[in-house]
Amino acid sequence: MPEKVIDRQAAGTGKEAAPQGAAPARRRLRDKFGRGALPYLLLLPALLAELLIHLVPMVTGIVMAFKQLTQFFIRDWSSAPWSGFDNFEVALEFNAPVGKALLHSFWVTCMFTVLSVGLSWLIGVTASIFTQDAFRGRGLLRAAFMLPYALPVFAAVITWSFMFQRDTGLINHVLHDQLHLTDDKPFWLIGDNSFWALLTVSVWKSWPFAFLTLTAGLQNIPRELYEAAALDGAGVWQQIRRITLPSLRPVNLVLVLVLFLWTFNDFNTPFVLFGKSAPQAADLISIHIYQSSFITWNFGQGSAMSVLLLLFLLLVTAVYLFATNRRREEAE
């Protein structure tokens, strides 16, 4: 009802406030550019900026993927020979070493992403539900939860890398020296355990974002729903299942997608934690591509892998949006 009132007022003022001579002028402008062109014209500066900042580098990257852009050609890369789909073939030939390494890296990244997003979401949703009701010190606790998100990535991850050191690190001091959980001090930054080290840091770094988003989402759930449910005899668990989670659905849809994309592409965490050459168990695809281009100076190859990564992420995003949209339509 209030919306309608505003609508009518706006329409009214629009009509009355416009001076008599302005209407023909506007009509002339409209005639000139055709109906509906004006909004596009006004969007043009933004569109150009978008092109410059996002599309041009992307397209350049795609072009590079079709070139044999090695160190011999980077000085004048228009002279690099076109290589057709060679770079892609090398990357996708899973029996050969390069393709095999890429595939391995891809699986590691998938496992890592699923676990990291899953755990971040779980911890985030748990924490936000626990802090939903007011209690003494809630603000302080929420602020403390947000700390990892506020810290600069480099500072945070380098601290983790110190803690994960085998001989002098805090983790082994606690696990081995104090709790005696392990017979021997395990390695965390090299070997198979590096995967779990990376996962720990990643979850630590990204769950506060889930927490923040979900806390915001919880504010929109009317208290009356819970009161009504409580009157009907629903327990806490049922309230969470029947009210909280369904109400958070729209938030979750976006949150999981964003977390997925960030985690899948994460470069900073493994790079700061492991340096230029990540251990095989934690060879995330972004680091792998960096190695394939910057360290071996084969930029065409690296670009081809990036394009494949882009296609994969587009596909996942499209399927995800399609599936979740259909479920919503079915639900309605």
Partner: protein, 435 residues
């Protein structure tokens, strides 16, 4: 409406692709269009970037007084330097003069971004003969004009803790690997170890693998320049290095993840009795180790080895290069001449604890400490440049990573055999570009 939008997008994309491929790439050759300024990218040689500025600024002032050319200095950390150079190469917008790690010489030479030092160019800076031969050999591929000139030189030496050796009843530092392993075992007890290695550092790994490879008779490339990473000689060399942790157990398993110079700290604090390092003096001093407490000898070699098999170090160091697109070619060469002059060589190398690659400057008293005398001897007699081939940077990364992986499995207690070493090296080799 929708098809309209799509076709518009396609047209736009095509337009961008066309413009993108039309630009890119710089014009070739230098000029003298801005003769009064130079931009110089220095590498991080001192204890911090700030320290480097303090060392270099007074020298650059001197140059400005002599020539009237103002040098804009930027000190770039090692982690960024190569990427910055590649970006400068790709865009054509770079410094006039820059420091490069000497092992990158051939790789960067292949990009064509650096000014080749032919006879005429060398004449302008005082001639090729002023430099040590081995340092010139590490400034570009064999048979080509060097892509840079040597600026600071370093070599590996074996640093040993005199007190610990005395306490273990060892009279002389080891000269062969058998002796090193034997001494190492005597020096290893409890949490003290005979040797410290920087096993998580890819570059350190590949440097040692290279020296051992030369001693076993391989430079990791065959005569035609093809990589031979998994030859029997290479396998033996890498296994020997990994065995310090795996079989000899004279290095602590924890060394496998060292990548932040912890091995230097371990040596300085007496947790390890030996260390193979390049020009460690200044570093050890900052950890409070007195020069009298340690001795330096060449890294061991097989008994009775001669020629390449007696190699005990790579030629380590920093080269000075001129960017081909410079707008001040004469000034840049003038600056190179200044930086490689006897006087500057003495000042700068003296401050940084490195050795002057310029012969005449080496006789200075600053370089007569026992440490630097040993290293100078290594550089003259038993140092070989890393393979000067365009794919050198791939070699460093791939073989260095293979050694790192092997050390990691050795540290985790997995058996290291010739087969496991060969397997890892074959994987490295297969990732080299086919051409």
């Amino acid at each position: 409406m929708r098809t309209h939008r799509i076709s518009a997008a396609l047209a736009l994309t095509a337009a961008i692709v066309l413009t993108a491929s039309a630009c890119g790439g710089g014009d070739s050759g230098g000029s003298n269009s801005s003769p009064k300024t130079l931009t110089y990218w220095a590498s991080n040689q001192g204890s911090s970037l700030e320290n480097d500025k303090q060392v270099l600024e007074p020298e650059l002032k001197k140059f400005e007084q002599q020539t009237g050319i103002k040098v804009n200095l930027e000190v770039i950390p090692w982690s960024d330097l190569l990427n910055r150079i590649l970006a400068a190469t790709a865009s054509g917008q770079g410094p006039d003069v820059l420091n490069i790690g000497n092992t990158w010489s051939a790789s960067l030479q292949a990009t064509g971004a650096l000014l080749p030092f032919d006879q005429a160019t060398f004449d302008k800076i005082g001639g090729k003969d002023r430099f040590l031969e081995s340092t010139i050999a590490s400034a570009g591929a064999k048979g080509k004009d060097p892509a840079a000139v040597p600026l600071y030189s370093m070599a590996y030496g074996l640093y040993y803790n005199k007190k610990l050796f005395q306490a273990a009843g060892i009279a002389n530092p080891p000269a062969t690997w058998e002796e090193l392993v034997e001494d190492g075992k005597k020096l290893t007890s409890g949490d003290k170890y005979g040797l410290a290695i920087e096993g998580g550092n890819v570059s350190e790994n590949v440097h040692h693998a290279f020296t051992l490879g030369m001693q076993h008779g391989t430079g990791f490339y065959d005569a035609s320049g093809k990589p031979t990473f998994d030859s029997p000689e290479a396998v033996a060399a890498v296994k020997q290095y990994v065995d310090f942790i795996a079989n000899d157990k004279i290095a602590a398993p924890g060394n496998a993840e060292y990548a932040a110079n912890q091995s230097v700290t371990d040596f300085a604090t007496g947790k390890a009795a030996m260390l193979m390092w390049q020009s460690a003096g200044a570093n050890l001093k900052s950890h409070g180790m007195n020069p009298d407490d340690y001795g330096v000898v060449p890294v061991p070699a097989p008994a009775g080895a001669t020629g390449d098999k007696a190699t005990t170090s790579m030629v380590a160091g920093i080269n000075l290069a001129v960017f081909k697109n410079t707008k001040n070619l004469d000034g840049a060469l003038n600056f190179v001449k200044f930086m490689t002059s006897d006087e500057e060589q003495k000042t700068l190398n003296g401050t940084y604890g490195s050795l002057p690659p310029v012969k005449a400057a080496q006789s200075d008293a600053a370089f007569s400490t026992p440490e630097l005398q040993t290293l100078a001897g290594v550089l003259q007699k038993s140092a070989a440049p890393l393979p000067q081939v365009p794919s050198e940077s791939q070699f460093e990364t791939l073989v260095g990573t293979a050694v790192k992986n092997l050390l990691a499995s050795a540290a985790a207690g997995k058996p290291i055999t010739e087969a496991t070493v060969k397997d890892e090296l074959s994987k490295a080799q297969q990732q080299m570009p086919a051409s």
